[in-house]
Every structure is written in C-alpha cells, then in structure tokens.
C-alpha cells in the first residue's frame, strides 16, 4: 500500500492547535498524526467538539485569528505547510487542497450568483483565463456535479437553489482547480437522507474520475463505512484509534470506537449493543488529567485517570490509544 | 447677528459749532489705483433696495452702489452729493435742489429731477410699503420738477431733519427704469449711480462690487473691486485680517483690539462718536410708571463698573443723551449717582423690595453682556431680574409694538439735537417707544425746532435734557468705544460719526 519511494500525499505529524496562551492555553487539536495516500479516502470520525473540524482548518491554513498551530508538521507531498503565512497558503488552498463544508445553506455568499462564486475560485488560481473561458469552465463544472441545465443555473443566486443543489455547487467549486486533496467536512450532515446518498455517490464518482485523495470528516460511522479506505477516530483533540476501514469496523480496539459503533443505528443486524456513551466530549479547557475518555469509559481503571495512553499497534497500521485494549474480550 | 437699524441720521441745518477729527480721507495726495479691497461683514444682508433696507450693515454697501442726494462729513456738516446745491425757502417749508449734471444710473438712464421725484414718491406710496414712509409722509407734501436738473420739495411742516434724511436712506437714488424692470427683485439687482456696481451676491457668503468706470466724481473710485465677506464673529475677522484674507474689520471692542496688539501690519482707528447705550422702559405702564422704581434702578447701576468691564474703561459714562463736546452739550450733574443704599430706600418707599423684573435681551453679544451686568447690579439691591432672550432681528419691532417693557437700547448721535430729542422724547416722536409724555418737554422741543441759531436753541435743549434725565424714560449708561482695524496698505476709509464707514474713496497700495 505504501510506496516507500514516494512520500504520502499528506502527512500530519504531532499537530497541535492552541488557543490562548500560558495558563489559559487550550488545545483544540493535541498531537495528531494522520497520513493520507494519493487517491485514497481517509475518514475522520468523532463527535462534535472532538477537534476534527479544527484539524481540517489547520490543514487548510485557516485556523481562526485567535488560535495558532503550536507545533507539528503538515506535509503536503513533502512540503511542510504548518506555519506558512496566509499569502503562501493562498496558492495551495483551492488549488491543491480544496474543502467543502457542512452547511450548504450558508456556505455560499447570498449576494452573488453561483457563477460568480465559481469564477472567483477558478480565477484565484488562473489569472490568465478570459471571462468567457471562466464562465464556460464554471458551466462545465456544474455539469460535472450533475446539475441540470447548468447554462441557466449558473446565473442563479444561492437562495434560488435547494440544499442538495448548493452542496453540488460547493463540490463543483472545490473541484474547480483539480485539487489533489479534498477535505469534506460533514458534507452530507445537513441534507435529507436521499440527497445524502446522491452526494456521496457523486463524491465517489468524482474521486474515481480525478484520482484525488479525500479526507472525509463525519460523526456518522455509516457514512464512513460507505466511503473511507482508512479511518481515524478522534476524541477531545486526539486520535484514539486509526487503521483501515476493516480494522475499525471489524476489529475496533478502543472503548470509544466501540461506543460509537454501538450507538450507530444498525438495521441490518440485531446485535446486542453496547449502551450509548453517556456524557459529552470534555471541552478543551477542561480536560481530565489522564485518558480523556476515562470519565465516560465503562472499562476505566484508576490507572486510566493517572496518565494519558499513547497509540499502540494492533497489527499493521492499526493503532489504538488505550491501556485496556483490546477490550472486546472484556466486553464479552 | 442682525441688528435692526435705528441709528438713523437726522441732520440739522445748523451744524455750526461741531468739529470732529477729520477722517483719513485727506491723508494721501495721489491714491494708488486698482486692487481688491476685502471687508469682513458680521451682519447678514437682506436687501440692497434702499426703499426696504432696514439692516444696518446694508448701508455700507448702499453707499457704494448708490449716491445720496446730500451727504455728511465727519464733522456732521452737510455736503453736496447728487444735489450740487440747494436753497431753503418759505421758512423752511420748501427745499429746492440743483442736481449734478451728467450723472447716469448704472443702466445708462439719466439721473434727473424726474428720478428724484420718482424716488421720493416711491417711498411715500403706501402700496410699496417702504418702512421710511411713516417718517416722510407726515413731513413731505409734494415734489415738483422745475426743470430736468431742478427739483423742489414742499413740506407740510418745518422739519430740520430733512437734509439729514436725504443724506441717509431716504436720499439713496435708485433707477426708476430698473425698478420697473426688476420689480420685487430690485433688492437683488440694485441699480444706482454709485461708484461701484454689484457683480455678484452669494447670500450668506460674499458681496462683490466692481468699479463703475463711468462714475461721475473725478478720479474716484480708485479700487477695481470691493468684496464683502461674511465672517461669523470678530475673532475670525481679525484672524483673516492677520493672514491677509481681509483688509478691513470693524465693530471691534477694546477687548478685541487686544488680539492684534503689536501687529505692525495692522492699524486701528476709533469711530469718532460712539453709540449712546441706555436702558429704556415704558413709563406709562406698571411697574415702571413709578418714578421711585426708575430712580432706584438708576441709583443701583454702577456705570463706571459697566464701562470698565465692557469697554475697558475707554467709553464715556453718559449723564444725558448728549455726549460732551457738542454745542448743545451740558455739564449738568447726573442726579442719580451709584448709591445702592439709596436705591434700596427708594424701593422700600415704593413698596417694591424684592421685586422681579424681566429685561429683554437681544441676541447681540454686547447687549447680552450689558444685561448680565445690569441684572447682577439690580440683584444687589434686591431686584431679581430675568433675562428674556429675543432674536435681534425681532427685537426692535417688539420694542416698537410695545411688547417689550424693559430693554437696553443704543442710538447713534445726530448732528442736530432735534434728531434724537424729538424722535425719542417728544410725545409725537416716531421713535418714542417709552410712552414718555411730558408737556413741558414737548413745548420746549417744538419751540427749539423752529429756531435757527444754536445760541437760541441751546438753553431750550439744556432745559429739556434736565427734565428728561430727571424723569428717566431712559437710564443713560455710556457712549461706546468702537474700533476699526485695517491693513496698513489701506487708505481713505472714512469713519463717520453715524458708525457707517464709507469706502467710496478707499485706495490700496500694493
């Protein structure tokens, strides 16, 4: 899977994103590592507040002004993006890494036609293109995301489109410069179930066409199962378990992963389920001293409250951060 | 602020005894030619039609655009202007004027006897509504054109002030043709015979006058252009004078002069006779119908202190309506010296201790200052005074309509005693706004009006003045000190005792 000669497309190492300073410092992302190979899809799973969106913003170089990348590296094809100034990131954003967001209803500027917003994305990385050329490319992009009669819709305003349509526009915008990596941050969460399926299909088809890699962020394991090659599970700013989709879905080691799997509604199997995980992700300014999942963990021992477990291998690239792993046996 | 003009100049026949310092007119032998003369103007202008003009500031412009029938000098003497000479016939009931030859209006129409007749009858015409009508109508019977350059005016009654009026607003000659042409808009399109013509009037900002190349007086005018620029107050006027944006600013108090002390490029001059500042009230109406109250107020006022504070001590405290140095001046002692004890005693006698008075306060800074001092001093003898602000432009009409009972006042000095005495103190005087009616004073003034020689008239005015000062229709306060400041390059500004500077013969060296 991994070709030792060429580096992976994206390699995140020990990334920390902090807000505030000194005693008030909080880490939204705390020492995360992540590898995305070309053409593959890496799913990131976690509840809201787990830091998965901040991770994606950090990769985009869009950490809000109040925060910063405190340490770590984000290598894109070998080049470290962490700490690059906004201006230099400008050439990479949209061009090599593109992103689509959770809320299609608000992710388009209500004052401009979608054509104009698409053109802006194209022109940002191709200053020589003529207006006509750009417009044709915008229409072509709309066609590629299966928007009917794109010649007409290109002049529509966002409020004239449905949520699913807007998400297609967002995808078109992300594809406009042929990115190597697409970060999709909960792209289907806000949509109806039928539309969700359409969008996922579309993404998969487009990935086949273009060969781009994808980071697919979601809290929905079902969606991950449908799209991801590799999966990382995040909890309170850290990766607690990572591996291939098969590793995670069939051989989960971490109690949190198991909890997530259990809380997923499964229609196909009527298995005895773990109880839904009680409580919520602790906020970054109020983390427990030891394992961050310890307060909610059914398997916790006093040791868990004393120190924070690191990732341990469980065969191949399958890693999990739990003192008590594997826990499946215990559960049984 | 606007100030309604009532410093009307009433000139008498016998201005004999009075000699005031001559203006700077004669200072330079050959005036420099050309240039623009910029004047700071504090008051607003409403109209340049002399028929309707009531704003004091308008008249300095009227004197440039128009000529008067006769004029007055700095010594109060009557001089020829449009009338080259005149005779008074029929015991002062008929005036015959011989006009200058070859004078024409700016529109090219000739100035002649018909024009004079039109001008006077225009002002007398009730449908025109000139504010001068009430003044002229009781006096003028008819106007006769004798020949194109001779006009006679027949009077209903002897009136020593007629020539004075003709040196003033009633004497400005306007073009009959232009009146017919512009109608109600004549005030914005003035046409006269004067040394300058109106070029542009940006209301509220500036008035630009250009030299009249066909002006009839030899040599004059010397300037190419005169610009009046509106200034909001004296400080800004002086500032602009200092930087050279203006050449001339006036209406300056002694305090204002402190701002330009030691500036070599600016010279200052005092107006020859100041305004007579006083307090007036209605003597036929409560509470001021009580002489004791009037006397108490007079005793309560420390006029030296007022002079010191307002005029830096440079004004003359007034003991009567007449300043010292005129032939009808008296040195009778003022019967109501500053004496708060006596004032309190008089109030007690009148049963008015702790009384409350309302003093009308026009929005002019000088009245505002004066009234606050008056209120303070009357407060010290137990009279509480409320100051009631009135917009300056509304103020005098309220005084005339007797809507105002207690107010400060100021009058400019006249060349003839009949001027002020008759209009203010005779029960028939048109500017008698106090309701003062003393038959003795009336008789004295009527008698003096029909006498010619100062020697005969002086005792009558002296007696009248004593009665008036005793009766206190006015409390005399002081004769103000007022200054003009101008660039050293300027020559020929004439500061007349009527407080209207004349700019017609101004020249400016480069």
């Amino acid at each position: 899977m991994t070709d030792p000669k060429t580096p992976p497309l994206l390699q995140v190492e020990d990334l920390r994103v902090s807000f505030g300073a000194g005693a008030h410092e909080t880490r939204a992302v705390d020492g995360i590592g992540l590898t995305v190979e070309r053409g593959r899809t890496h799913g990131i799973v976690g509840e809201s507040g787990s830091g998965k969106s901040m991770l994606s913003l950090a990769i985009m170089g869009l950490v809000p002004d109040s925060g910063r990348i405190a340490s770590g590296r984000i290598r894109l094809g070998g080049r470290d993006l962490a700490g690059l100034p906004y201006r230099e990131m400008q050439a990479i954003r949209g061009k090599r890494i593109a992103m689509i967001f959770q809320e299609p209803m608000t992710s388009l500027n209500p004052l401009y036609t979608i054509g104009r917003q698409l053109s802006e994305a194209i022109r940002a990385h191709d200053r020589r293109a003529s207006a006509r050329e750009i417009r044709n490319r915008a229409i072509e992009l709309l066609r590629r995301v299966r928007i009917p009669s794109p010649e007409r819709r290109v002049d529509d305003y966002p409020h004239q489109m449905s949520g699913g349509m807007r998400q297609r526009v967002m995808i078109a915008m992300a594809l406009s410069c042929g990115p190597e990596l697409l970060i999709a941050d909960e792209p289907t969460t806000a949509l109806d179930v039928t539309v969700q399926v359409q969008i996922l299909d579309l993404l998969r088809e487009l990935q086949d066409e273009t060969g781009m890699a994808m980071i697919f962020i979601t809290h929905d394991l079902g969606v991950v199962a449908a799209v991801a090659d590799e999966v990382s599970v995040m909890y309170a700013g850290r990766v607690v378990e990572t591996g291939t989709a098969r590793n995670i879905f069939e051989d989960a080691q971490h109690p949190y992963t198991l909890g997530l799997l259990g809380s997923r509604p499964r229609l196909d199997r009527n298995l005895h389920r773990l109880p839904t995980i009680e409580g919520a992700v602790p906020p970054p300014f109020d983390l427990p001293p030891g394992c961050r999942f310890e307060p909610r963990c059914a398997f916790a021992t006093p040791d868990c409250a004393a120190a924070c477990p690191g990732l341990r291998p469980f065969g191949g690239n399958h890693l999990a951060a739990c003192f008590r792993a594997p826990v499946k046996e215990i559960a049984r | 602020m606007d100030s309604v003009d009532r410093r009307d100049f009433l000139l008498g026949l016998g201005a004999g005894g009075l000699v005031l310092a001559a203006g700077p007119a004669a200072a330079q032998a050959t005036p420099a030619q050309g240039g623009t003369f910029s004047i700071g103007l504090q008051d607003s202008l409403d109209t340049l039609d002399p028929t309707f003009s009531i704003q004091f500031a308008e008249r300095r412009i009227l004197h440039l655009v128009y000529n008067t029938l006769v004029s007055i000098g700095t010594d109060f003497s009557v001089k020829p202007e449009l009338a080259a000479s005149w005779e008074i016939e029929n015991d002062g009931l008929r005036y015959v004027f011989h006009l200058q030859d070859g004078v024409s209006f700016h529109d090219g129409t000739p100035f002649d006897a018909e024009a004079v007749k039109f001008n006077i009858e225009h002002r007398l015409d009730e449908s025109v509504g000139s504010p001068q009508r009430s003044r002229l109508d009781p006096v003028i019977d008819s106007v006769e054109v004798i020949d194109p350059l001779t006009v006679a005016i027949n009077l209903k009654t002897a009136y020593p002030g007629l020539l004075g009026d003709f040196a003033d607003r009633a004497g400005f000659m306007i073009s009959p043709a232009a009146v017919a042409k512009f109608g109600e808009d004549f005030g914005s399109n003035p046409v006269g015979t004067g040394a300058f013509t109106l070029t542009e009037w940006v209301r509220g900002t500036s008035v630009t006058l250009d030299r009249n190349p066909d002006y009839w007086e030899d040599g004059a005018p010397y300037l190419d252009r005169i610009v009046f620029q509106t200034i909001p107050n004296t400080i800004i006027g002086l500032q602009r004078l200092r930087v050279g944006e203006l050449d001339y600013v006036d209406n300056l108090s002694p305090d204002d002069l402190r701002q330009i002390e030691g500036n070599d490029e600016i010279k200052t001059e005092a107006f020859p006779v100041g305004l007579w500042y006083s307090l007036q009230w209605q003597v036929d109406k409560a509470p001021f119908d009580d002489l004791k109250l009037r006397q108490a107020v007079a005793h309560a006022l420390d006029r030296d202190r007022i002079n010191q504070i307002m005029m830096n001590g440079q004004a003359n405290v007034a003991n009567s309506p007449t300043p010292p140095g005129l032939w009808w001046s008296t040195d009778a002692p003022y019967p109501y010296p500053y004496d708060p004890e006596k004032a309190r005693a008089l109030l007690a006698e009148a049963g008015l201790e702790g009384g409350a008075l309302t003093l009308t306060t026009p929005s002019t800074p000088i009245y505002r200052r004066l009234n606050q001092l008056v209120a303070e001093q009357l407060g010290e003898v137990g009279l509480s005074v409320t100051l009631e602000p009135v917009e300056s432009s509304q103020w005098y009409s309220r005084v005339v309509s007797k809507a105002v009972n207690f107010t400060p006042m100021s009058w400019s000095q006249r060349a003839d005693p009949d001027g002020l005495f008759y209009i203010l103190f005779s029960s028939k005087g048109h500017a008698n706004t106090t309701g003062y009616n003393n038959p003795e004073v009336d008789a004295l003034l009527d008698e003096a009006r029909n006498l010619l020689s100062p020697e005969e008239r002086k005792p009558l005015y002296t007696e009248a003045a004593e009665l008036i000062v005793h009766d206190l229709p006015y409390v005399p306060l002081f004769f103000s000190a007022s200054f003009a400041a101008m660039s050293q390059a300027v020559d020929g500004v004439i500061l007349t005792p009527d407080s209207i500077p004349r700019f017609r013969y101004v020249s400016k060296s480069a």
């Binding site: - | 002086l238 010191q308 504070i309 009234n371 602000p389």
Partner: protein, 260 residues
C-alpha cells in the same frame, strides 16, 4: 472584565465626576458663577484655571455650576420621554392589527421629522427657559423610545410562554407586569441612559445656536457660543464647557450602550 462592564464603569465614573463637580461646586471654587469682575478675558492661571470670560467671571466656576443644569435637563427630559414613549410603546407592542398599525404610523410620522430641526423650531417659538427646554427635548425624543419599547414587547411576546399565559386567561396588565416588563426592563433602562446623553447633547447644541437657557445661566452650550468670539484670547472659554458636555454625554452614553 468584559468590554460592557468596562464601559459601564467608565460611564459611571464620568457621571459621578460631573455630578460631584456640580454638587460640590461651591466648595470647589471660591467664586460666584454669576459675579462679574474687572479681569476680563484673562487666560488660564492658577487663580482662574480656565481663565475668565467677557464679564470677568471665572470660567472654571461656571463650568462646575453648569453641571447642575445639565444634570437636571438630561434626566428630566428622559423622564418625559419615558412617560410618553414607554406607555405608547407598550400599548402598540401589545395591541394587534389596526390599533398597532395606527400607533406605528404616528410613531413613524414623528420619526420622519428630524428631531433637532423640530427642537429648533419649537424652541424659537415658545422661547427659552428650563421647563420649555425640557419639554421640547421630551417632545422630540419620545418616538424613538416608543419604537424601541414596541419592538421589545413584540419580540418578547413571540416567545411561547406569553401565548401560553394568554391562553390560560391571565389579564393583559398582569401579563405585561409579570412576563413582559421584567424581560424588557434592562433594554429600556439602557435606552434611557442613551436618552439622557442625547438630551444633554441636543440641549448643548441648541444653546450653541443661541436657543438654550437665557443668560446668565451657566449653560454649557451657550458658554461655548459666547466664547467663540474670543478663541484667541482665551480658548478655554469655549473648549472647557465643550469638553464638559462631551464628558457628560459620554458618561451616559457609555452607561447605556450595551452592544459592541
């Protein structure tokens, strides 16, 4: 400390400063604010911190006493605004349909009239005095208050529990007093502080145009105006009362401004 708290504290400090200056004026200055003197238009000195005015009065003293006038005008005008604007706003906010529409029309009509211009006209007509000034300020400022109160009532009413209270048959006054008023009180209080600041600001502007309190009242706006003629002899004559206006206005403004 949040920005709002900081602003409130600054505002209260300024108001307290001005109020104390007004209250303790006789102790802070040995002069009578209305007593003339022979030192005309003196520049600032140890004896006269802001110099003297055109009647030889101590400007510092007059600025101190001026605080008393401003602190009467502002709150008194705000009281009138409250008495007219709040009831009308409450009624309009609670009324439905036509009644509400009509009141809103009236409020909108009044709001269309520029407040300052209206104040100018009315002051010129009825003449300057303290009660007239307060009346005029109240007259021109109530529509803003009425509009605010109406909007607040409407938004609180939209919340479900009022409908519920309606449904269980609470009387309207009871609903207003128990449910609506506590929710809008704070906004109204803040608006009143703003009203005080606007009133003082407007009164000073009228005074500057010569339509304020008649002399010799130590009216800040009037002092600025009469000092204008002597800016080069003693600039404090205008600047000191002008700064006093700014301080007081700012005090109430900071107190009332709850948004960023």
């Amino acid at each position: 400390m949040t920005a709002v708290t900081l602003r409130r504290i600054t505002g209260l400090t300024l108001i307290a400063f001005v109020a104390l200056a007004g209250i303790f004026a006789p102790w802070l200055s040995a002069f009578d604010p209305n007593a003339s003197g022979y030192d005309i238009l003196y520049p600032a000195s140890a004896e006269h911190p802001f110099g003297t005015d055109d009647l030889g009065r101590d400007v510092f003293t007059r600025v101190l006493y001026g605080a008393r006038i401003s602190l009467v005008i502002g709150p008194a005008a705000a009281l009138i605004v409250a008495l007219i604007g709040i009831p009308i706003g409450l009624v309009a906010g609670y009324a439905h349909g036509r009644a509400d529409q009509m009141i809103v029309q009236v409020i909108d009509l009044f709001i269309a009239i520029p407040a300052f211009v209206l104040a100018l006209i009315v002051m010129a007509m009825i003449g300057a005095s303290l009660p007239n000034l307060v009346f005029v300020l109240g007259l021109v400022m109530w529509p803003e208050m009425a509009r605010l109160v109406r909007g607040q009532v409407k938004s609180v009413r939209e919340r479900l529990y009022i409908e519920a209270a309606d449904a269980i048959g609470c009387s309207r006054t009871r609903i207003l007093a128990r449910h609506i008023w506590p929710n809008i009180m704070h906004t109204i209080a803040a608006q009143l502080a703003i009203t005080v600041s606007t009133a003082i600001f407007t009164a000073a502007s009228l005074g500057f145009l010569g339509l304020g309190l008649p002399p010799p009242a130590a009216d800040w706006g009037g002092m600025v105006q009469s000092g204008f003629d002597y800016l080069s002899l003693n600039p404090w004559l205008s600047i000191a009362p002008g700064c006093a206006v700014a301080m007081t206005v700012m005090g109430f403004y900071l107190l009332g401004r709850t948004i960023d």
